[in-house]
Symmetry: C2
Subunit: 341 residues, 2 copies
């Protein structure tokens, strides 16, 4: 089953029609140089023979695969699922394929994916970097090959290109301030990376709120999760056990929210009476958790849509200048019952 059959070439079409290869090729790509009647003849035969242009051969000629590569760390996250829908809404309209590549938070895997792109597999790239990614040589290398790259959500500050993000620092500051106003005098910040720009900005917002409200920042209130769910859970449980009353938690990413609920259940701590919780989350289930979760909800669809629109403009418009800056679309703080009324 390994041998794929696609021997029908433009040359064969040309032979059958008594036309030159160049005429057939131009007719297929709807060139203004070719008459309507010739285009009709070519298209009739194309349909009759069920001819599919070979994308590989075609991209060798035109360097245009009509494909957007989307590189994300994982797929089991509502933010990314919604951002992909935003990207696809543009791609569908503009006739692009979307290929989704997962880095699984692994720098080596992300490097391999981008290396593969160097050969022209995609026209442009939208990327949200892995948590392990601290170097940008692989991104520079791809840019050197003139493949446009736009960051979304998880950006690298050191790389100059368009970056579509939300107001990470400000929304974390607002959420922290909300917890303070609701009586929390100790607030844990749940992180999952020491290096990701997005996490650092959210941490900065948390710190700013503490400072503004004359609360002391303490390193031991910052819990950085690894990829070892069991170990992470025990760490969280231990921290909650030793915490006094009026504790708040700000989780910097969706997947850290459920372990908090689990730990509180296991320790018989009540949310929000004993522990108040806010999480960055785009999950529809937030409203139906026990109790419903107060969230910072990101404009995921809009972020994906904006990133894809800019990429397509860059690919299609000769005189379009990609804005080499951050485009910020603000998040919403949605108050539910995991914080006090």
């Amino acid at each position: 089953m390994k041998e794929k059959i696609n021997n029908l070439t433009i040359k064969m079409l040309a032979g059958q029609l008594g036309l030159s290869v160049s005429t057939v090729s131009k007719a297929i790509s709807d060139s203004h140089e070719i008459s309507a009647s010739t285009k009709q003849r070519v298209n009739d035969l194309v349909q009759k023979l069920n001819y599919v242009p070979n994308p590989y051969a075609s991209s060798l000629r035109t360097r245009n695969s009509k494909t957007i590569g989307v590189v994300i760390p994982e797929v089991a996250d509502s933010f990314f699922a919604q951002a992909i829908n935003g990207i696809e809404s543009v791609a569908q309209e503009k006739g692009y394929h979307v290929l989704i590549y997962l880095s699984h938070e692994n720098f080596e895997k992300e490097k391999k994916i981008l290396k593969d792109f160097e050969s022209g597999r995609v026209d442009g790239v939208l990327i949200s970097v892995a948590k392990e990614t601290t170097q940008h040589c692989h991104i520079d290398a791809l840019m050197d090959k003139a493949v446009p790259i736009i960051f979304f959500d998880r950006v690298m500050d050191e790389v100059t290109t368009a970056k579509i993000i939300t107001n990470d620092c400000e929304s974390a500051r607002l959420a922290t301030e909300y917890l303070i106003k609701k009586g929390c005098n100790r607030i844990l910040f749940l992180s999952f990376s020491h290096t990701l720009s997005i996490t650092c900005k959210r941490l900065a917002g948390y710190k700013k709120a503490l400072l503004d409200n004359h609360l002391k920042y303490a390193d031991n209130n910052i819990l950085t999760f690894s990829n070892d769910a069991k170990k992470d859970y025990l760490l969280l449980q231990k921290k909650l056990k030793s915490a006094s009353k009026d504790v708040g938690i700000l989780a910097s990413v969706e997947k850290l929210a459920l372990p908090i609920y689990q730990a509180c259940e296991d320790l018989q701590l009540s949310i929000p009476e004993d522990v108040q919780v806010i999480s960055f989350s785009n999950s529809d289930s937030a409203a139906f958790l026990h109790p419903p979760l107060t969230t910072i909800t990101q404009p995921a669809f809009e972020i994906g849509k904006t990133a894809a629109s800019l990429l397509v403009k860059t690919l299609e418009r000769k005189n379009f200048e990609l804005p080499m800056e951050e485009i910020v679309i603000p998040s919403d703080l949605i108050i539910r019952k995991s914080t006090l009324p």
Copy 2:
């Protein structure tokens, strides 16, 4: 930024090294015909010049893109997220790329994706069909081009190939029987397709449980959701309003579970006292909903892993015969508090 640079070809490498193109090509693919010292010379130059083999040119020669195409209806579903992780676990080990394509439940989009595959973009395909898909001409066409296709989860009974599924009928029967035993004398079945094989099997299991327990099957207990969330919600709400006591609901897919919780909240119906709920769901949040949701949890990772293993064997082993049958991996009924104790 549109012009990509990849003019370095095997021919140029051969010229620089004073070797034939065929020798260089064989050295790069680590052929036993080439001496270790020649391979070393070739690889040194490849590294020095940062040469990336062009996948398009390479696949024209070998028809081997080392790429698996995964076609799924949507990404915002825990089942598919976990199945993709299973697929990637095999692909990573065996050196394959995984490209994820979304059909968005749309038959025309699915057709386009498969048409695109005919040209050799991927070596093989794993597919879970769109809810709109009732014809299999697009799948037949791809198989005619000798591209191996394996179904997972959402299969088409009419197509002969390997199909990795769970015990859809039996697990729906067990769940329905559980609701009957817990006192439900009217059980709603929430569907989202009249035609999908997977939904028909789940409905058959529901019907069998009713029959086994001498309960009457009624068409007006079957609610088929469209893609219009608002309309669907009003339909569900109306049905629940008019239902008497001791109602049970079996939701045939994860995303139908949260609207049930919403409707019960809005109608001030209590789960499980007024309405007992079971849903097919792989979502981690099920355990933390209010109340925790009793689920039929599918072996999503295993299904993805099994499908990918079979595909890679088909691609790599000359004498491997793809089993043209269903491979069934059973689901678990996980009892939580949305059903009575």
